[in-house]
Symmetry: C2
Subunit: 310 residues, 2 copies
Amino acid sequence: MIIKILGSGAGGGFPQWNCNGIHSSAVRAGKPGYRPRTQSSLAVSSDGRNWVLLNASPDLRQQIADNPELHPEKTGPLRNSPVKAAVLTNADVDHIVGLINLRERQPFSIYGSDRVLATIKANSIFDVCANDIVPRIALPLDEKIKLTGDGIDLGLTVEAFAVPGKIALFLEKGGEDTNYGSREGDTIGLEITDNKTGRSFFYVPGCAEVDAPLAQKIKGAELIFFDGTLFTDNEMIDQGLMQKTGQRMGHISMSGSDGSLEVFKPLGIKRRIYVHINNSNPALDENSPARKDVEAAGWEVGYDGMEVRL
Amino acid sequence: MIIKILGSGAGGGFPQWNCNGIHSSAVRAGKPGYRPRTQSSLAVSSDGRNWVLLNASPDLRQQIADNPELHPEKTGPLRNSPVKAAVLTNADVDHIVGLINLRERQPFSIYGSDRVLATIKANSIFDVCANDIVPRIALPLDEKIKLTGDGIDLGLTVEAFAVPGKIALFLEKGGEDTNYGSREGDTIGLEITDNKTGRSFFYVPGCAEVDAPLAQKIKGAELIFFDGTLFTDNEMIDQGLMQKTGQRMGHISMSGSDGSLEVFKPLGIKRRIYVHINNSNPALDENSPARKDVEAAGWEVGYDGMEVRL
């Protein structure tokens, strides 16, 4: 199984278009220790030929151009693509807008929770992915589903499971609801298994908290790509960028007693890679104390183009 | 007035993600005479500091990164952008999806026809551009409107006018209507005037036909950016890419007795630049007979990053 990080940034990418904060400014200026990051997406393949996108970021056209594995096969028909399916973990802009790039009557499958598929259905612009050749397949929670696309068995199995999280920002409801209208299935994690080898990994790019069911689920895993949005819960406020904590945005932090660095310690997960890293996260700076903390704890900071084989 | 081409390609850009045709294959392989093109957008500024987007393509994040004029001002606040407004000429995916990149609570103005604004309103994903700070301003036809954004007079005037065209593909209706549900305002052209100098140019990236009113409108103009989608009406079919003519897609061709090269001859327009160039257009190849025809007729083929001062 081959896994590639297409985009390791959070929503907005790195740098973010309108951000003049210390990290976005530094990467825009080409400061050593910083590298640009497109928005959150992985690609996975069991055979190196047919690929499944895990989330479809607004930068998908650029990501396809930058990754030759995702180019049309040169000896194939006039219209062809190795992208056979996309699995969505929530309805955030950074995870669904890339679908709009996959137009021009190319068959593939879209997998997502009922809640996420309903958002796509409610926005007619996604009809550019023609319904007659791009089936939208509901992912039930806690069930193993074999992935197919364009009539091909992709050799991979996905299991979706609910994780603590929040509804997409643009769908938030006001009023009394302290969770902004979020329900189960608004944010999911995925376990992807290679049918041939039986080896598997987890992908959880958005997660508010590692609660007991999640800890139980991922315990002893071989590999996880996990929510690396923020280093500290208050960093957006401290840097003057936004009046929201990580918890308000539905994201756990790396640091702190209930941060991912700490709570993963007893879980015995062999390889841990942060993705969905926000432009405010000091661990983006390879020379920062935050990055040293992350690496000392045995974590890796994912980057665009990073490849992992399992 | 400074005008920059952010993206000179048509929908899908060049190469197109799933296209294995001769031109997309050639540019992907780096063949001499070909250059990559992002999707259709211009930027214009009267002062070099505040900018107006003419259409917002799905590649906008990459286009902002590639054009330092559009970066936040280094000495400005933590969140700032020189992008103060976007004017939309139709609701095609390649012209509106970029708006989704302009999130993170940045004030700017969106201008479009009633019909285009209705499409944006009907798709909740565009609510990422918060209504309270991103006004959506209806552009009446045949009236001069002064452009403003984020409380700033942008020093430019726009006049929108209907041009022969078609409704966006994803909004097409079936049935008996031979124009697929299109109405006036689905496709518009723009005249942009610099308020200080009084000089102006036209921007018409989608146009099915140069009819008498349009010819009258643009006659004697100093500069036009015009629909360069196809070289011949049948080229998509001839190259095996799609069973649609240019006319079916709402686009005039460059060549032929009713093509733009011919019908512009009596109009006395000083500078003519093709934009919105489709991946099937042989004029994309700098060494092609088609390119020689275009240049011999005094036209230029627009490219990403091209700058024109007026």
